[in-house]
Subunit: 377 residues, 2 copies
């Protein structure tokens, strides 16, 4: 794999880094948060709102898209960007994780995973090579290697077997990716559960194979935050400085601050949209549950100083009413408010790193969350 100039490290502040990741569909400012558009759509948001909220890159799920509408169909329609109308960088996962979590009758073999589609019951085979082929058909800017993710807690034997399998699948993924046009990127995924030694072995094996970027997988799957952070600390020093680092499936705003402090550049999570659908708002005062009766008569917005119009101008009373009434608009507004909050946080993180004030920013931000919501009226 050539040492393409796809990642430019701009500044460092402690272990925290800010940079620019160049993809065929545009530049991603890091640290970056990728909202999750599972099946080619962001739940509750128009793509223009995803962009306006400050999003550079989104994540699509290979498992969902290969089953419906199908990778070959999306390719015939010009790829994911043209299909969806999201005209920016897109990362796709390998499909492996969802095979494990969503489908029945799955069978993991060295050669491939076989599973029953949760949509039409058809038996489907997914190999590392087919995963790369699917992601190439989708036209994703960043493809992920197929890996096996073990849910924690787990036995060391199971964790090690899955980690070794993932390394071999990484090599096969890299070979399969060799014909991809210049500019398209492939990331490897470090596994190893909560066992430091296995995490280090996984990272070393991946670096030997060589990828455009490195992800840390198999975390945020039920373990305490301290374990997650400890595993990042094992893996990060082994990874090359000049490649982006992506912590998969993470997380809360606080997780993000902690991981950035340990050198992570990229994140993805369904939390802003999923929690938005359940009446929760992310704010500088921490998470706020709009279902709570204290908001029923409150004409004040969530945060009158927010840069996002809906967070600054929609009353808590109206949001409360929408959530209680099950109105779609409640989920729409809270999802966009949450994505905008995450993206503003990433903006401020990048800014603080550039000014070498990240530790201070992190402390102030956490203090704001700890102080909690404004007093009820």
């Amino acid at each position: 794999m050539t040492s393409a100039k796809h990642f430019e490290l701009l500044r460092r502040d402690g272990q925290a880094r800010t940079g620019r990741l160049t993809t065929p569909h545009g530049v991603v400012r890091t640290p970056a948060f990728m909202p999750v558009g599972t099946a080619g759509a962001m739940k509750g948001l128009h793509w223009r709102e995803v962009r306006e909220a400050g999003t550079d890159i989104v994540l699509g799920n290979t498992y969902h898209l290969m089953l419906r509408p199908g990778a070959e169909r999306i390719a015939a329609l010009g790829g994911l960007q043209r299909f969806t109308g999201w005209n920016g960088p897109m990362l796709t996962d390998s499909g492996g994780f969802q095979v494990m979590s969503l489908s029945e009758l799955r069978k993991v073999r060295e050669q491939a995973v076989t599973f029953r589609s949760h949509i039409d019951g058809a038996m489907v085979e997914l190999s590392p090579e087919r995963s790369i082929e699917v992601q190439r058909l989708l036209g994703s800017d960043i493809a992920m290697q197929m890996d096996e993710c073990v849910r924690l807690p787990a036995e060391r034997g199971d964790i090690e077997r899955a980690m070794q399998l993932s390394l071999r699948w990484g090599e096969r993924s890299r070979r399969a990716f060799e014909t991809a046009p210049a500019g398209y990127l492939l990331f490897g995924i470090a596994q190893g559960g909560d066992i430091a030694e296995l995490r280090r072995a996984s990272a070393r094996g991946l670096v030997e194979t060589g990828f455009h970027g490195y992800a840390i997988g198999g975390l945020a799957v039920g373990e305490p935050q301290a374990v997650m952070l400890a595993m990042i600390e094992e893996v990060a020093p082994i990874l090359p400085e000049d490649r982006p680092r992506y912590l998969m499936g993470v997380g809360t705003p606080e997780d993000i601050l902690e991981a950035v402090a340990r050198g992570i550049d990229m994140f993805d999570c369904v939390m802003p949209t999923r929690n938005g659908r359940h009446g929760m708002a992310f704010t500088r005062f921490g998470q706020i549950n709009l279902r709570n009766a204290r908001h029923a008569d409150d004409p004040r917005p969530l945060d009158e100083e927010s840069v996002w119009p809906a967070a600054r101008s929609t009353s808590r009373a109206y949001l409360h009413h929408l959530v209680r009434s099950g109105e779609t608009l409640g989920a729409m507004l809270l999802s966009e408010i949450n994505i905008a909050y995450y993206q503003r946080l990433m903006h401020d993180i990048r800014d603080a790193i550039a000014k070498a004030t990240f530790a201070d920013f992190s402390q102030r931000t956490r203090a704001g969350w700890a102080n909690g919501d404004i007093p009820a009226r």
Copy 2:
């Protein structure tokens, strides 16, 4: 009731009319279509999209709003416009129709209707006076008298009793409205089912009482279109020329063309948003079912000549995928596309009446629907 200059008739073309209705929150161009924001929200749309689609006025449901979040609460929060953020004219129904269709254990008496709330089971009483009070608390620009609507087919005796009761309730509503500030409007509602004689008697009685505008209620409740049109033809000639006429709960684009040709100025219907949530698009080619497999590989938009961006630029393949996948974005896009189609139709209707070409416009529009969708690829 004073002969306020709230309605200006601009042009007539046959029986069709175009005019300007002035309300405290702005001017409504007629013929007008009012999208329905049942519980203070338009399902699947932001208010800015409702406005951008060409909407002058929206409808809110008194029944829903009085039960949740409550009329007194909305009043304390500054009224419906400030509460919801829809800064334009709003019409509210009386609540009577939903009492009949949504609540259990309802009891209609001369004095009031008593019913059990479908939300919390509480017993609630709604009288013509309380309905006006609630609508005044909501701050609606146009209040409707409380009436009793009989589902068709029905016995003549039942229809006549409900019509007479509605006339008496209309008088009480008018008295209750006398303290409303200048500029706020009250409409009476003609009942009488599918019986011409009763319809005429109802209209004459209403005109005697005197309202700012006149609605025709109790239609589009299961009867054939021909019956609906015949009833309009009975009622319209009795209504004063200088007052707006509103056909409640109607309807399809074709219903609207037919009713405008018979002198109707205002409409409301849930069809654009409800059908949008079920995968149906209103277009100049007629209704299109995006769930249909013929769209799965079709990169073309619904209508490349549409003035509405989403109808012009979103591919049928993507809409098909969103609908099949149950993605919220599908309902969001189709709801806004449908509202925009309805409002563009109203715009073109007003334009045709102003140019005295309504009959020709109506014929061409209907021919387009009859021709059906563009050929499959």
